[in-house]
Amino acid sequence: MSNEVYIIGTGQTKFGEFFNLNIGDLASEAVNKAIENAGIGKDEIRTLFIGSTVSNSLSQSSIGGICTRSCSLSSNAYRIESGNASGAAAFHHAFLSIKSGLYDVVAVLGIDKLSDYIQNGTIEKILASSIDYQWEYEMGATLTGLYSFLTQAHMEEYGTTLEQLAYIPTKNHQNGVLNPKAQYRYAIPLEKFLNAKRIADPIGRFDVATPCDGAAVVILASERYIENKKPHSYKVKILSSSAGSDTLALQHREKLTELKATRLAVNDAYNKAKISANDINVAEVHDSHPIGEILAIEDLGLVPKGEGGKATVEGLTALNGKITVNPSGGLKARGDPFGATGIAQLIEIVEQIRGNAGKRQVEDVKYGLTQNVMGTGVMSYVSILGRGDN
């Protein structure tokens, strides 16, 4: 028997600002929903993998025990950190734990609570922890400042325009309207992005995803478990989960017009899944800044290199376009609770494959892909999901 890995349950809180909820409250809501969705018992979960960037507070970095107590779990639990990609990193390790044959059922919790830190420059320091803190942040750069360099490099090399860039958040907000779990469920007209004050020229104040609160859970199970127990929920197969890396600081990269880590991860992911970019029907990518989505769709091979802006304007990546990108609204409209983002991306693809995505359902989804990035692309995680009967 092969050792395929399946997602058998998902659960997610709404994303947004929840000043009355702590990290345990958010975790228990998402975990309970996922367990109910999977139709399993809590005692069947062997390990809780937690993807989180800043955890409960700046002083409580060990949140495993907090989450198990508040969720009434007796499993082992630990936190995996990979900046804004912590959720995808935790998922990758959960996948490996079942793929290796060690465990049969594990849960992955992506969680962060960032609304406590939006004042006094703290969130900028938290974001700076996933760039080179010493030689980028302390020298004066911010995450958005560095994304400005990536934007300029792409505009210069491929002639990408501010208008093309503004189509990205415009599209994602249109999709976010249809997502009940999104933080911002309203459309924003293109002109508003174009006319906004520049916070790190050429990046405008409405272009950047908002750090917020949220928790998201997926439950993974082995083929052996499913054959013996047959949980009621419709299973989705994990065809591959891959990781790639690049230098931490932009100044150490040869070129700024590609996300090398994403390219390395996706090549491995396509090989392991035995499919190509042409087979992907829907993708959830890291659009923390508009250039992030353009680089992602190009380096994932979904559109030709240099044509990400043009493809977006032409509607190729719109809902039910040639390939739907960020039907959930992306980080921009869904909100970005760092650790929870990578898991929310996977949940969106699971819902699309199960046919449960409601008004944002993409027609006839066979394969879906997620891409989650740390900082300016130092680590990147790509997962490909398919129907359970593949």
């Binding site: 302390e138 020298m139 004066g140 360099f149 300029q152 916070i199 790190a200």
Partner: protein, 129 residues
């Protein structure tokens, strides 16, 4: 800001000391004990070039608390004459005057302040020549 960290980084921040690899001859900044390019332990200190050109730049309107006193300020990616690239603030000029490819030189400045009475961290920035 931690005093031991500021002390430990003094040669890099104040003098711009990186490394040169005696095996592959590659220069790197900041310093590492082994060459990031070839893995050799045969590295010696190297002082980075004082002049360079502006590759990319932007104006920072919002940042962390120790740097916020300075906003809005300009930060750029500078390619030095020896090929090393660094991220640094660009000073003594107006944002609108800056152009890609401008010649710049290194200058010693205040990088961050820990409130009105706390530590001051110094380091290098660049200014147009």
């Amino acid at each position: 800001m931690e005093p031991p960290k500021i002390w430990r980084e003094r040669r890099e921040r104040y003098l711009g000391i990186g490394i040169i690899c005696e095996d592959c001859q590659k220069k790197n900044f900041p310093k590492t004990r082994i060459c990031p390019d070839c893995g050799s332990e045969n590295v010696k200190p190297y002082k980075i070039a004082e002049r360079g050109t502006l590759k990319y730049f932007t104006q920072i309107m919002n940042t962390g608390d120790e740097l916020i006193f300075n906003t809005p300020y300009i930060v750029g990616l500078v390619e030095l004459e020896d090929g090393i690239k660094v991220t640094a603030q660009i000073v003594d000029c107006d944002f609108k005057e800056l152009r890609k490819g401008m010649k710049l030189e290194k200058t010693f400045r205040v990088l961050a302040r820990n409130g009105k009475e706390g530590l001051i961290k110094y380091g290098f920035k660049f200014r147009p020549i």
